[in-house]
């Protein structure tokens, strides 16, 4: 039976006061359909990286929610994002994954669009349309808002959405660590290799909440740690730099973003990492020194996995990558993973990182395989008539977060849960789902931009 959810119903599905979330929001087809309308047409979404469309005519076919979009650079060098749907009968105009082209020609009847989206070719324009078709009215649909932030291309379908940096808020600190060079240089990164794409039989929110701060599932990766796939031959990462560090979960519940991180002690110094190769080890050591010099106190932040609401997650350090969890139905997620390296890194470093990345991430990556098993079995075991009557539990660490975190003179924005002793918490997930609830219930961005009323409370 189809259930229609009124906006008020969402507070029952996400009970943040009691730390409980209904399984319906993961498995219900009506809620999923509502998400496409209320979340994916209004939020800022990650589309791709400028290094993927470096030359005029370069294009990369991406996705915003369920819908295919074309990221391309026109002949004048300007970057655009278009809906990949012909204005005549809706055919997918571009069916390649990426490439370079002077025009996008629709395979159905042959309408052709320039790389700036303009309709330039209409078969039988003179004879059948009698030159009366106003081509200027039938360009490809362009996103109303797009931004190139340090090489990352983001877009939203909502012309009333706040500007990107307002959408990101204090989370910018962590996004910068992802896109800046390892030495702290502004936006010094590029994409390496192809984009890995694969399907996971799970709702898109499972991976989004996992990346926002699920330290608790570390046990899932014990076999990888035993194998030792890390860049220094042990564990899955270099953990020596976390010596004496505080472990912090940082949430921006009014925006839905969150990350876990480690905060090095006030007088920490760079330590060796990437020990499997002396050239790579030296490169990173020098970068750490340069970044410490450049960033001072901020250098102490060792950023971990994070999620920008709704469906872009990332690992800013090891292995440095971006994942987008494209919704493909309540029970299917198409995962895309981009890998980042410093643009100016020597070839040996880039190749070393490429090897490490594919050992760790993607459909064949040892760590990512652990996660996928959890997501797909948790999802399928939550779909049944009995299972979906029961809520998930998100009560860990409730009431222990602060909004005025300070350590050795370094103040952190957001709601911070110190998990150094606790080792895990679920405040970031609670922040994610309280934001999800707001998106599902709010009429427009006037209601969604809650921070304009001073909202930023702990949850």
């Amino acid at each position: 039976m189809a259930i229609t959810f009124q906006p008020s119903a969402y507070s029952g599905l996400v009970d943040q006061d009691n730390g409980m979330v209904s399984r319906e929001i993961f498995v219900n087809a009506d809620i999923y359909a509502e998400e496409q309308e209320r979340i994916f047409t209004r939020a800022w979404l990650f589309v791709g990286h400028e290094s993927q469309v470096a030359k005029p005519g370069d294009f990369f076919v991406s996705s915003m929610g369920e819908e295919s979009v074309i990221l391309c650079r026109d002949r004048q060098g300007e970057i655009h994002v278009f809906l990949n749907s012909c204005m005549h009968r809706g055919m997918k105009v571009c069916r390649y994954d990426e490439g370079n082209t002077p025009i996008f020609t629709c395979p159905y009847h042959g309408w052709s669009f320039a790389t700036d989206g303009a309709l330039v070719g209409v078969p039988f324009y003179k004879d059948a349309y009698h030159e009366e078709l106003d081509k200027s009215q039938w360009s490809l649909i362009r996103v109303p808002k797009m931004v190139n932030y340090k090489g990352g291309i983001w877009a939203t379908w909502d012309p009333n959405a706040p500007d990107f940096l307002d959408y990101i808020g204090g989370f910018k600190t962590y996004l910068d660590i992802l896109f800046d060079g390892w030495d702290g240089s502004e936006g010094g990164t590029e994409i390496i290799g192809g984009i890995e794409k694969w399907m996971v039989p799970s709702n898109w929110k499972f991976p989004a909440e996992n990346f926002i701060g699920d330290r608790y599932h570390n046990i899932s990766h014990r076999s990888v740690d035993l194998v030792g796939i890390g860049p220094s031959g042990q564990g899955r990462r270099d953990n020596s730099e976390r010596e004496g560090a505080k472990s912090l979960d940082v949430s921006f519940p009014e925006r839905g973003h969150g990350t876990v991180m480690f905060l090095r002690p006030e007088h920490a110094q760079p330590v060796p990492s990437y020990q499997n190769d002396p050239i790579v080890a030296d490169y990173f050591y020098q970068c750490e020194i340069a970044r410490k010099e450049r960033q001072g106190q901020l250098w102490r932040i060792l950023a971990g996995p994070g999620t920008i609401f709704p469906n872009m997650s990332f690992l800013p350090r090891q292995p440095r990558s971006i994942a987008v969890w494209h919704p493909r139905g309540p029970d299917q997620t198409e995962v895309w993973r981009w890998f980042l390296v410093d643009r100016s890194a020597p070839p040996e470093v880039k190749e070393f990182l490429r090897q490490y990345y594919i050992r760790y991430s993607g459909p064949a990556g040892l760590t990512e395989q652990d996660d996928m098993e959890n997501w797909n079995y948790a999802h399928s075991a939550s779909r049944g008539a009995m299972a979906r009557r029961h809520h998930y539990n998100y009560q860990m660490g409730m009431g222990y977060a602060v909004t005025d975190f300070e350590d050795g003179g370094l103040k952190l924005d957001g709601t911070v849960l110190d998990t150094t002793k606790a080792r895990a918490g679920e405040q970031n997930q609670r922040g994610f789902y309280s934001r999800w609830r707001e998106f599902m219930a709010a009429r427009d961005w006037d209601e969604l931009a809650t921070w304009r009323n001073g909202n930023g409370s702990a949850c």
């Binding site: 082209t101 002077p102 025009i103 020609t105 042959g110 052709s112 078969p123």
Partner: protein, 67 residues
């Protein structure tokens, strides 16, 4: 009637005969199998077109005049 022209094999500099009795030189080929960018050489029905650049649709390309 001439064979159907395979647009993928048409090179810039070649001449094509078009629907409407015009001829045109191929300026570039986007290799989508559907369109060619051309410059009109002759156009008895619409002499103003001569010298103009345009896109022509595959079904309007009747034959290759020169190789």
């Amino acid at each position: 009637m001439a064979d159907i022209v395979n647009l993928f094999e048409v090179e810039p500099g070649q001449t094509v005969r078009l629907h409407g009795n015009a001829t045109a030189e191929v300026v570039s080929n986007p290799r989508d199998g559907v369109w060619l960018f051309v410059r009109y050489l002759t156009s008895p029905d619409d002499p103003d077109q001569v010298g103009a650049e345009d896109m022509v649709f595959a079904q309007d390309v009747l034959e290759l005049v020169t190789d």
